[in-house]
Symmetry: C2
Subunit: 772 residues, 2 copies
């Protein structure tokens, strides 16, 4: 844990330069626009510790994992998020000395991420050789208003000297991945050119053959005048640059405007990339930096209007929630059903692959409640598009007859992770994908989704579960062996309660959905049955047997659900018995020791109680929470939010707040000592959940929202907005009252502390705060 | 399964050329001498399906396994057995046409491995272009009498033509490994030269920096005359050759003698390699092919004198046992305590690493009973030398205070396998290493070994087990979680009966050994305690607690030991319910399906009953055998022998014979469809065990051997020899009688069918055959 960033309502602020924190800051100050994004690397380059990272949505490399032992059904490749061509680079050469913060005396340094406007600012004052001093102020953004454009304003001022400065804006596709098995580079040059103030490189990825055209145009302003120059053209492999010599004058700023366009073959034919890039550059240079920045800030303003959460009285918490919302929206805007929410977004390479169950289990509710329902629907359609691949994935493992197993990690529907204990075994993800269908429909009321897409996916998933369980003669029940639950600190266990529970739920929900579709759209049902060779009678008969006789481990003595068959045989003890030097376990213990310990990486049984809360009484939830919470180390970023929500529901306000801060400031304060690899984007939705479902106590019932707000003692007030079935609702909570405001025209019906209210358009209701 | 090889008492015979069997034959016809060896590749090269393989004992490459996800304690590398420089190559060019069996019309083909003399012979008659026909007869061996020398006699006869033939003997270090993660080559050239009739290449392995000098000298004889020639020198990267043009005459054989020396930096300083190679070539060329072959055959004769097993009335069984003994002795001669018995010997690359628990559990008894006791002792010393590495290996997993975990696979004491479920979990290997100490001492009576080496290893192992178990409050017993038993078709199970049992046994045996050493060599004991910081009182107190309260799963209802906690919860059913197309499972099922099935790769619970037979009554063994045997698929080559021994003990003669044939002819008949990768060398010791301990019923009791022979119905007679504590004993069994002959001078005491006999020197006893 590190706490070097300043607290501020809207800004992330780093003051002073600590090289040992640079990779963390590069992650935290990342910017993006859903289409591309990047770590907060320096324009002028940096020879110190740094993880260079520019990313283009949907572009990946399938690196070979077939080394050593290999077994049938192992995935063929490990998808790598690719470091894409660098478009930010501007080399600054001061009379033979390259500007490089690793080699200067840094007198002042300040980095600010303005989340309200979506602009990254960096200002520094350095001493270089010969007693010369220089100030730089760099602004940068990836336009949310025009998502093919990035822009930089780079201002440098010689404080106490004059003389030649060589300025070289460039595009460099000769970039490396930190994660490369054999130090291989993944980009191949297709075409490049540099002419006057523009240049471009078209590069192609190996194997996957994605092409990206990265183009730039720049101008330089000195003394208020746009300079006239004829740059020296620099070309190397996969690189173009344009060098300009400027005679710097003491105290007089030189401003470089660099516009870039990043165009990928996901959106254009290969032979149209250059044209599209040129067109984007023309739009950018015509508008100019300020107008681009203004349009960009307006686009952010619109997002904030819908999604902002206000917290008064706790700046750290306010900053945390805004940081989380900001990162989510710059990672995924919901406009392209081929994209998804990578676990690191545009902030790092790690994890590889763009889609995990995180999307369904954590991100979907956030987008449902803060964006148009088309966004949530796009997330579901993404999986529907990949159903055939999920069926193939299951077939590789020996499942038949249309059983579908969605991959644990994917780019294109194929499994692309390299651990059998995850890919074969962490199959509960299939449950989350079914759950998301229910969640979406419950929230939006869009039952037609079931007819056109949902049921087909559900049947594939139900078929999988039906084949995956087996009947244990000894127990006289259906059991499920060889799984990994959400707690990845155990592998290959039998009868993981969560997995068994969600499997049974999937079968039940599929049966219900089937009845609905049969009744409401019998012809479509018949067509679907035909298409997927669905033997309704025999298949559903089997499902019913499993539903009615599924084994769900429960311990009589403790009266808790048992995480899996062997769990209580472990050396069961609380996290408080660990030494500080043991944590995080994944950095200090061997995997062997972790697997055999009782310590839980992330909510597992509790995850189930969170998903299916309505099926359990509060005492049951409390007993399980009190049993599992003390053993949970929360080394998955997806964990604290669930605990926070549950603690809030159980009236454990302190625990709820502790877990809330942990999720909200996970990256800002580097809780798990891994922010340098990138931010934990998907779990940021968990922060939102912790606030809205935790403190706000929001639940979604049929056609209606309910609330049961509490407020942490240190907060004065918090407020959030929700879009629900087209209605805009604002919830505001202070230490005395909870207020629900209907921001739309028509009447809405909500529940507040178990009481149903009808709120006419543009009116509000208020109730005294209650405690759980 | 394939049965294309002819049965013969002493020869392995292939008649006719089937390219689809070539890789299998290359494995089966492999030759070696403990120091180097090779697959039966063709001297003249072959462009068809082939696995080129020459191997030098102890030379390996540590290939990177760090791809994708990585966790603390995972091994850093996967050791690869390296394909070494090719010394057999002789290119034959017939007026512009390269001789290549893949491109000729093969009229006759015959390959014979003479196991009695250790010589590989290949004869073929082919048609090439222009109606020309050619006969070749090639002889080859790796000298057992002088283990730095290989020799070839290659005779070619133009049947119906004359004209120029270009003959190019060569040394080629530009070889590939089939198992190479990134198609990398592992050898680098250091030095080479070719001059007149000699040439050499010194090549070095990447990373490990082993140097091997491979040198050749040759002569050509035509019409009884040694030809005078001045070859054309050919040099390429890592390659030297010498080309000679010979005018071939119709019907007149041309004979090429090629001598090679293979000298590695394991045995010479780098700057002495060339000298040693020259010296070996001089010895070879001075002696000439026939004398070398004679000395080689004599060396084999001496081995056979000690180790041969005679079977009359069943040629297939006779051939099988000799093949197994032959392969064992050409893989490991026991003269070098740095070497060990690689699972594929010199017959293939697969598995990587040279030392598995196979050595202790299967090979040791063979070498103990057929060779000088120094050989067995060398195998034990090998592990003692690596104790410090075993302690480091355990420390990487978080074990402390001198706990030792021997690696699952190793080259130099470090773990070099790449599956966590094996390296962390298949820890029963530690038990086999302790068991081998007991086994060696029980057989040889060399209790001093305990004092000087054994106890130190035992304490390291005992410390490991003591830390590896934990006390389960729930059960009130010590349990062991997260292990993989000998049955690798299950992973990460809890309380594997075999592992728990052998762990407890190790603790007990260490306590006993400790008492012995303390009493017989108190000063050495004190010095050892000091050196390894052994806290006798507190450490042994903990061990005793574990011993007295270790959990060993047992099922009351079935009255069998339970393979592990979850086993009986599986879909338990016999192998007979599988379809033929399912087998072998590891080639037809996904790993997911295999792990969840009840099918057992190799003896697991039964392995324990085999090791510790004296601790169980026959009924217990029978019940367990009858329970587990039907579920065992024997997809490990180490499995059938144990079942054969146990079946013999239980009087199940048919099953014993079935399992015997399966182990004895595993590679000859390609039972598991994988002989093309190489032969299963270590399991060949299992064949010997199946005969001697199975049919022969031999057991080792304190200071005495006991026998309880049976004989398969189809055999007339079988006989084997044993060396026991310096005494030579011959056991002969026919359908009527069992006879034990004391081939030494003094009196020996043996047990035959539970009756103790004293047999004076050079006399024998006879008893009627009994059935179990």
């Amino acid at each position: 844990m590190k706490e070097y960033l300043k607290h501020h309502e809207w800004h992330i602020i780093e003051e002073g330069f600590l090289p040992e924190n640079n990779k963390i800051s590069e992650s935290v100050f990342s910017i993006g626009n859903g289409r591309f994004g990047q770590r907060a690397n320096f324009e002028e380059g940096y020879s110190g510790e740094s993880l260079q990272g520019s990313y283009v949505a949907g572009v990946y490399y399938p690196d070979k994992t077939k080394v050593g032992w290999w077994k049938n059904g192992y995935p063929e490749y490990f998808a790598k998020v690719l470091n894409a061509p660098n478009w930010i680079g501007i080399d600054i050469n001061l009379d033979g000395e390259k500007l490089d913060l690793a080699k200067c005396k840094v007198l002042e340094f300040r980095r600010v991420l303005d989340m309200q406007k979506g602009i990254l600012e960096r200002a520094f004052h350095v001493g270089i050789s010969g007693g010369r001093e220089l100030k730089v102020r760099a602004l940068r953004f990836c336009s949310l208003a025009d998502d093919e454009i990035g822009a930089i304003r780079y201002e440098l001022t010689p404080v106490n000297f004059e003389g030649p400065i060589t300025i070289t804006p460039y595009i460099d596709a000769d970039v490396e991945n930190e994660d490369s098995n054999y130090e291989e580079k993944f980009w191949v040059e297709i075409e490049k050119d540099v002419y006057f103030r523009t240049g471009y490189v078209i590069a192609e990825t190996k194997k996957t053959k994605f092409q990206v055209c990265t183009a730039m145009q720049f101008e330089i302003v000195q003394d208020g005048q746009v300079l006239d120059f004829n740059p020296y053209r620099e070309q190397k492999e996969k690189y173009v640059g344009a060098s300009v010599d400027v005679k710097a004058k003491e105290g007089e700023p030189i401003v470089i405007y660099k516009y870039a366009s990043i165009i990928s073959s996901l959106n254009y034919a290969n032979d149209k990339l250059k044209e599209a890039a040129n067109s984007a550059l023309l739009r950018a240079s015509t508008a100019g930096f300020d107008k681009l920045a203004e349009a960009h800030a307006q686009a952010w303003g619109a997002k904030w209007d819908e999604a902002d959460i206000l917290i008064e009285g706790d700046v750290a918490a306010q900053q945390g929630i805004r940081f989380n919302i900001f990162q989510l929206y710059q990672t995924y805007t919901g406009e392209d059903a081929r994209l998804n929410i990578g676990p690191k977004g545009f902030t790092g390479e790690k994890y590889g692959g763009s889609t995990y169950w995180d999307t369904e289990a954590y991100c979907l509710p956030f987008y449902l409640a803060t964006a148009d329902s088309a966004v949530g629907r796009n997330l579901l359609i993404y999986r529907h598009k990949q159903l055939q691949k999920a069926i193939e994935n299951a077939a590789k493992l020996g499942f038949t007859d249309g059983a579908a197993l969605y991959p644990m990690v994917t780019m294109n529907g194929e499994e692309c992770h390299n651990e059998w204990e995850i890919t074969f075994e962490e199959i509960h993800r299939n449950g989350a994908i079914a759950y998301a269908i229910m969640d979406y429909i419950r929230y939006t009321g869009d039952k037609e989704y079931l007819v056109d897409y949902g049921l087909e996916v559900l049947i594939g998933i139900a078929r999988f579960w039906n084949q995956r369980v087996h009947f244990s003669e000894r127990r006289g029940m259906y059991v499920m062996h060889g799984v990994t639950g959400p707690n990845e600190y155990e592998n290959n266990v039998n009868n993981n309660w969560y997995t068994n529970y969600i499997a049974r739920w999937c079968l039940t929900y599929t049966l219900e959905s089937l009845d609905y579709v049969k009744e409401s759209a019998p012809e479509k049902f018949a067509a679907l049955s035909d298409q997927i060779k669905f033997y309704e009678y025999s298949e559903t008969a089997e499902w019913k047997k499993v539903i009615s006789n599924m084994y769900l481990p429960h311990d009589e003595q403790l009266d808790v659900f048992v995480q899996h068959d062997g769990f209580l045989d472990k050396d069961v003890r609380p996290v408080s018995t660990l030494k500080a030097s043991d944590r995080p376990l994944n950095q200090n213990w061997s995997w062997d020791r972790i697997l055999r310990s009782c310590f839980i990486k992330q909510a597992d049984t509790l995850q189930g109680l969170y998903f299916f809360e309505e099926n359990f009484d509060l005492d049951t939830i409390r007993r399980n929470f009190e049993f599992y919470e003390p053993m949970t180390v929360h080394e998955s970023s997806l964990s604290p939010c669930v605990h926070s929500i549950q603690a809030a529901r159980l009236g454990m306000e302190e625990k709820a707040y502790e877990m809330y801060v942990r999720t909200a400031r996970l990256d800002l304060d580097d809780y798990n000592n891994d922010t340098e690899d990138g931010c934990h984007i998907t779990s940021m939705a968990g922060t939102w959940l912790a606030l809205v479902k935790g403190f706000g106590g929001m639940r979604v019932e049929e056609e209606m929202l309910s609330f049961r707000p509490i407020i942490p003692g240190s907060w004065d007030r918090y407020a959030f907005k929700i879009v629900h079935q087209g209605k805009h609702i604002r919830i505001e909570v202070d230490q005395a009252n909870a207020c629900i405001q209907n921001d739309s025209a028509g009447t809405i019906k909500v529940t507040l502390y178990d009481k149903v209210y009808e709120i006419p358009g543009n009116e509000e209701i208020k109730a005294s705060l209650q405690h759980a």
